[in-house]
């Protein structure tokens, strides 16, 4: 069953076409990887799906509903959660507050002017629980004091707190020390399986991509170059020549 569908999505920045007539269907309960070199348009594509940018043309359908014109915050209420390639947290708040805010956002508690936040225990409990899932325990530390790897975990925790149905993960392991990567990927995998979530993952590590995905879409210069199962993509001649061979042997990509 389809949960998300992009139809003819196009985004221009001035003269540059960052996303070019992309058609893509995401099946519910699957892990779908989007790969492609830097500048391929993956992040822009996510920005169109989440509403940060409005497309120049095309539509986004979520669970049968046209959400192309919905603002960002409305989409998260529909169950779409997103993590960012460039860490996007609340720097001068504690880890607990970072995640607690995400739990509060979709509840009916936002306009309780006279209530004390500290007495709304369910969001605090949820925050502690989610932080534990990603392996962050010093919940009273300020977010900006975390090392990079910790910030990546927090980024994921903020997303998880709202318990979204569809998780759009933009390079969740970007810049992480390689020994930390498997643990984070395993966490993502576990959440996907246990909650029967749908995960759309942008990731550069080919081992991870091949292992974790049910379906892979390859983007290049804003277009979909190929789509298929991991084994089909691995043996696809165009993909190999344009992309896999040349680019993924290069170290230090972001």
């Amino acid at each position: 069953m389809t949960i998300l569908e992009a139809r003819g999505l196009r985004k221009e920045f001035g003269g540059l076409v960052a996303v070019d007539e992309v058609n893509l269907t995401i099946q519910r309960g699957t892990t779908h990887a989007i790969i492609g070199p830097n500048g391929a348009g993956k992040t822009t594509f996510f920005n169109l799906l989440t509403g940060k940018y409005k497309p120049t043309r095309g539509t986004v359908i979520y669970k049968g509903q046209d959400i192309t014109q919905l603002p960002v915050y409305r989409r998260s209420h529909l169950g779409i959660g997103r993590s960012f390639q460039i860490t996007n947290i609340f720097p001068n708040l504690t880890l607990l507050e970072n995640v607690r805010l995400a739990s509060q956002a979709l509840s009916g508690d936002n306009f309780r002017f006279l209530q004390r936040t500290s007495l709304l225990k369910k969001h605090l409990d949820r925050a502690v629980q989610v932080l534990a899932i990603v392996g962050l325990t010093d919940v009273y530390a300020f977010a900006n004091t975390l090392p990079h790897g910790g910030k990546r975990k927090l980024e994921l925790a903020i997303l998880l707190a709202a318990d979204p149905e569809l998780l759009l993960l933009d390079e969740p392991t970007a810049g992480m020390a390689s020994e930390q990567v498997p643990e984070l990927i395993e966490t993502i995998r576990k959440i996907q399986r246990e909650g029967n979530k749908t995960v759309v993952l942008v990731e550069h590590n080919m081992n991870v991509v091949m292992n974790i995905s049910d379906q892979i879409t390859v983007m290049h210069l804003g277009r979909v170059l190929a789509e298929g199962t991991p084994s089909a993509i691995a043996s696809d001649k165009t993909v190999q020549s344009v992309y896999l061979g040349e680019l993924y042997d290069l170290p230090g990509k972001s």
Binding site: T50, Y73, S76, F90, F111
Partner: protein
């Protein structure tokens, strides 16, 4: 019930102490200086002579500035909305109460109550409207928009014949019981009450789930939206409450000076609370209060001073602006988090030091 009281006392004892002190203040000064907290009688009237009433005026001014700075801090310090037009709400509210008292012919008491209600309501609505048309603008563009609106009001009232253009008008219909030249002590307690209310109301709001979203917006508006907050709504709430609080400060200001004029709308009434907030400690509860107290005490005590070096006599008032600027630059460079932020940092460092020792 009693445990809650004890809890409260333990948490807030310093605040209660300060409140008690401020309640007793007119009488303490009176006792110290042998003056009367009610002024001196002249025939059947009172004249505001003596140290106690003089200090009451200074303190009322501090309460007003503190309310204005706290309301500014609610927008800028807690929600991250930078405004250059805060004087608009302050000054407009002064005009509203002034017009009600002097131009409607209503009974003084009724005009006063109605005027206060109208000043607060109109400014709340105005804040909301300004927010609606301009809060979609990012950061500094919003600030410039608010500056433009405030300056337009300044220019308008500077020429508006009915309110006597740049001269402004004096209030002659303030009810006796609240008249700063007859019963200053009532105004003192009203202003104190409003100050205390503002302080605790803002604290309650910021410690609520709503206030948590304000801080999230200040920290990262983009992310706040992406986790599901309609940030515009929350910014509108902040600006509406802040403009109503600024309006209440404006009411107190014209009741203290018994004078309404375009200077109420001047840029100074935006800059002062901004400076007080930053120097005192932005985004803290006590920062704006400390900033307002410190700067105003400096203002009243040093501004009139003269410095004699040999045969030259320097009047501090001549270079007061320069001095204030220097204090500000120094504060921002040496204590970027203001008095309160610096205090907290020192305390944290001390705790770390004693823990590791």
């Amino acid at each position: 019930m009693t445990t809650r009281l004890i809890e409260n006392l333990r948490e807030n004892w310093l605040y209660w102490l300060i409140i008690l002190f401020l309640l007793a203040f007119p009488f303490l000064v009176a006792a110290q200086t042998g003056s009367s907290p009610f002024g001196e009688p002249r025939g059947d009237r009172m004249v505001m002579r003596g140290e106690s009433v003089r200090w009451q005026a200074v303190m009322i001014e501090i309460f007003i500035l503190a309310i204005l700075a706290m309301s500014y801090n609610l927008m800028f310090g807690f929600t991250g909305v930078l405004s250059f037009g805060h004087a608009l709400f302050f000054g407009l509210s002064g005009y509203i109460i002034g017009l009600m008292l002097e131009y409607t012919g209503l009974d003084n008491g009724i005009a006063l109550i109605l005027g206060i209600g109208l000043a607060i309501a109109i400014n709340g609505i105005l804040g909301l409207l300004i927010g609606l048309v301009s809060l979609r603008l990012k950061g500094v563009y919003f600030a410039i928009f608010t500056l433009a609106v405030a300056e337009m009001a300044f220019i308008f009232f500077g020429r508006f014949a009915l309110t006597r253009a740049e001269d402004g008008f004096t209030l002659t219909h303030v009810p006796i019981w609240l008249d700063a030249t007859q019963n200053r002590i009532t105004l003192y307690y009203v202003a104190l009450g409003m100050g205390i209310f503002t302080f605790f109301a803002i604290r309650r709001l910021i410690n609520s789930p709503t206030g948590a979203v304000f801080k999230a917006i200040r920290e990262n508006e983009d992310r706040a939206q992406s986790i599901g907050y309609n940030t515009l709504t929350f910014k509108l709430i902040a600006i509406t409450i802040a403009s109503m609080l600024a309006a209440s400060a404006g009411v107190l200001q014209v009741l203290l000076n018994k004078k309404v004029g375009p200077e109420l709308l001047g840029i100074g009434n935006t800059v002062d609370p901004l400076l007080m907030t930053i120097i005192g400690g932005i985004g803290s509860f006590t920062g704006p209060v400390i900033g307002a107290t410190g700067l105003h005490l400096l203002d009243t005590n040093i501004r009139e001073a003269t410095i004699t070096i040999g045969s030259t006599v320097l009047h501090v008032s001549d270079f007061w602006g320069l001095l204030l600027g220097a204090i500000f630059i120094l504060a921002v460079m040496v204590f970027p988090q203001g008095v309160v932020g610096t205090w907290i940092r020192l305390r944290m460092r001390w705790q770390k030091f004693t823990k590791s020792a």
